[in-house]
């Protein structure tokens, strides 16, 4: 090896030449080839890779849509219809982008749920988790602005309602909204800046995803048992074991995605958005996309403008401090009998909030959303902090290999209750 060149282990002369000067192949081999990964992943661990693929699909379809889209109030709606009718395969690219947004949120909700159930947010993965919450926030902003671009009735009135949230800020609220709009209502300047930001933010997401993955590769992955791998017997190389397992998930994911695109492309959308935007008429029943509904329900649960907005943003903000709210040292809910039930209630409650968010804000629905909001915050602010002190967790397995392979991988010792980490290195 010459001085200054990376000591590449690759044999192919071209690959080797590049790798000596820029060791990208070594990095790929280390991070995605031999990367030691807990051997006990279940299919919930597919969803990070699925989200990554979904992001790439969104960017690819989005770049091609942007080639045909016109960001002007007089032309936006028609340019989208032109994509649907006249651009070759424009319907396919647009439906892939549209339903890709639904798929993206579904995948990311499951990914977040996985992290909450198996305690993936706990030390040492707090920053990894927080970067994930940043990605989720960026996704919500991107999806909202993307929904405005077709300039249908739901686009226009969704943009009006969501930007007006900021008018709840005391004193400067109305000024801020004027600056968001670039005018005195949602209009052409608003559409132009939303298009610009809708194009920009996905690339910001790519950057944060890079940090998310970089942080993941420092701490390593969590796993369904929530105990750290203690040696080579607990892990498998990422390739081919998890590339293969991810591939199974990708096929299933693409199957669902294709079914949505080809058989029910508008099922998750609103028919009102095929009516061109009309600033003089608000649709009778204005509802956000399903992935915003739980937060929308929280917004409407409070009979106070500022209070509702604060609670809605608080519902996301509380995720940032989740690693410190949950004081239990045990990660996986498999070994937390009470927290497991609490989280089940939280999950059902989240679905109830989704449902009630789509109902009219009157009568029994207001009460349901108030109860749901209370349960949502109680889980984070009361139940988790208290359970860390009160709950008696089940005994943790001694190691991943022991739990997965049974006694044949075991050289001695029984289950040790309590601590999840800081066990001596098991002899392989």
């Amino acid at each position: 090896m010459a001085i200054g060149l990376h000591d590449s282990s690759f044999k192919n002369p071209v690959v080797r030449w590049v790798d000596q000067r820029l060791p990208v192949f070594t990095m790929l081999q280390k991070e995605y080839g031999t990367f030691p990964t807990p051997r006990n992943f279940n299919y919930f661990w597919n969803f990070g890779a699925l989200a990554m693929i979904n992001l790439m699909i969104m960017i690819a379809t989005g770049v091609f849509l942007a080639m045909h889209y016109t960001a002007h109030v007089d032309h936006a709606f028609e340019s989208v219809e032109r994509i649907m009718r006249d651009v070759h395969y424009g319907w396919l690219i647009r439906y892939a982008h549209m339903n890709g947004a639904h798929m993206f949120f579904a995948v990311v909700f499951i990914h977040i749920w996985r992290g909450m159930y198996y305690g993936s947010y706990k030390a040492p993965r707090e920053l990894l988790w927080m970067l994930g919450v940043v990605i989720f926030l960026l996704m919500m902003a991107t999806a909202f602005m993307g929904y405005v671009l077709p300039w249908g009735q739901m686009s226009f009135w969704g943009a009006t309602v969501i930007t007006n949230l900021f008018s709840a800020i005391p004193l400067i609220g109305p000024e801020i909204v004027t600056y968001l709009w670039g005018g005195f209502s949602v209009d052409n300047p608003t559409l132009n800046r939303f298009f610009s930001l809708h194009f920009l933010l996905p690339f910001v997401i790519v950057g944060v995803v890079f940090l998310h993955v970089a942080a993941l590769h420092i701490t390593g992955s969590n796993n369904p048992l929530g105990i750290e791998p203690k040696g080579p017997q607990d892990t498998l190389p990422f390739h081919p074991y998890y590339t293969a397992k991810d591939s199974v998930g990708i096929v299933a994911y693409l199957g669902v995605f294709a079914f949505l695109i080809f058989f029910m492309p508008n099922y998750l959308g609103h028919a009102d958005n095929y009516i061109p935007a009309n600033p003089l008429v608000t649709p009778a029943h204005i509802v956000p996309e399903w992935y915003f509904l739980p937060f929308y329900a929280i917004l409407r649960a409070v009979p106070d403008k500022l209070g509702g907005v604060i609670l809605m943003f608080g519902a996301i903000a509380v995720l940032f401090v989740l690693p410190w709210l949950d004081t239990s040292p045990v990660r996986s809910m498999r070994f937390r009998p009470i927290a497991r039930i609490a989280f089940l209630i939280f999950t059902v409650n989240f679905l109830v909030l989704t449902w009630v968010g789509a109902r009219p804000a009157e009568g029994i629905y207001v009460l349901i959303s108030q109860i749901g909001t209370t349960i949502y915050f109680a889980y984070f602010l009361v139940v988790l902090p208290a359970l860390g002190k009160l709950e008696r967790p089940l005994p943790l397995p001694e190691s991943i290999a022991r739990a997965v392979l049974g006694p044949k991988a075991q050289l001695g010792g029984g289950p040790i209750p309590g601590a999840a980490t800081a066990q001596p290195m098991e002899k392989a």
Binding site: S9, F10, K11, N12, V15, F25, L28, Q29, Y32, G33, T34, A60, F64, M67, H68, R82, R85, D86, V87, H88, Y89, G90, L92, I93, H239, P240, T243
Partner: protein
């Protein structure tokens, strides 16, 4: 992934005594998987590439009608066809004659005038210089028409004659004759 890891596991599964280089089941699987992946990527890429082609609305506007009645002898009009200028010139007898008396051997891109027009007085050519795409001068009576009475491209000095053929300068070929038909004695449809 790179082939730096252990030698292919398939060789250990091959029948005893088989040489290491023998075609294995693993080789077959790799080839078929790769072929399948290539077809899949191609099928995925096709809609995206196809979307770059002119859309249905663009294709629907791909023909242009021209009324010849108002164009007096010696006059020329420029019409838009597919976003490009098309020159329609009502040629004088002298211009037709000068176009037809040229020897083919004197031409850089040999073509008879008869082959370039459907009716002798009417010359229809795409008004784009075949060199690098400028629009040649010569449509208005005050324009420079070059040394051969047709068109002159000011960008790099190509001279076209009264049949739109390249006679001098860097352009490689004659002005393109678009497909057109006479829909009546005084009207044509281009495209």
């Amino acid at each position: 992934m790179a082939e730096t890891s252990a030698p292919s596991g398939a060789t250990t599964h091959s029948p005893a005594g088989a040489p290491a280089e023998a075609v294995t089941k693993r080789d077959f699987l790799k080839l078929t998987t790769t072929a399948f992946a290539v077809v899949g990527v191609g099928a995925l890429a096709w809609p995206f590439i196809s979307s770059l082609a002119p859309g249905g609305d663009v294709l629907a506007l791909a023909s242009t009608e021209v009324d010849l009645a108002p164009i007096a002898e010696g006059q020329a009009v420029t019409v838009m066809w597919r976003g490009k200028p098309v020159f329609v010139r009502h040629r004088t007898a002298a211009e037709i004659e000068s176009a037809r008396e040229v020897q083919l051997s004197a031409l850089k891109d040999p073509a008879t005038d008869e082959a370039r027009v459907q009716r002798a007085p009417w010359l229809v050519v795409v008004g784009i210089c075949t060199h690098l795409g400028c629009v040649p001068l010569g449509q208005r009576p005050t324009d420079a028409r070059g040394d051969f009475g047709g068109w002159f491209c000011p960008c790099h000095g190509s001279h076209y004659d009264t049949s739109g053929r390249i006679r001098r300068g860097p352009a490689p070929s004659n002005l393109e004759v678009p497909g057109y038909t006479f829909t009546s004695d005084s009207a044509i449809r281009i495209g």
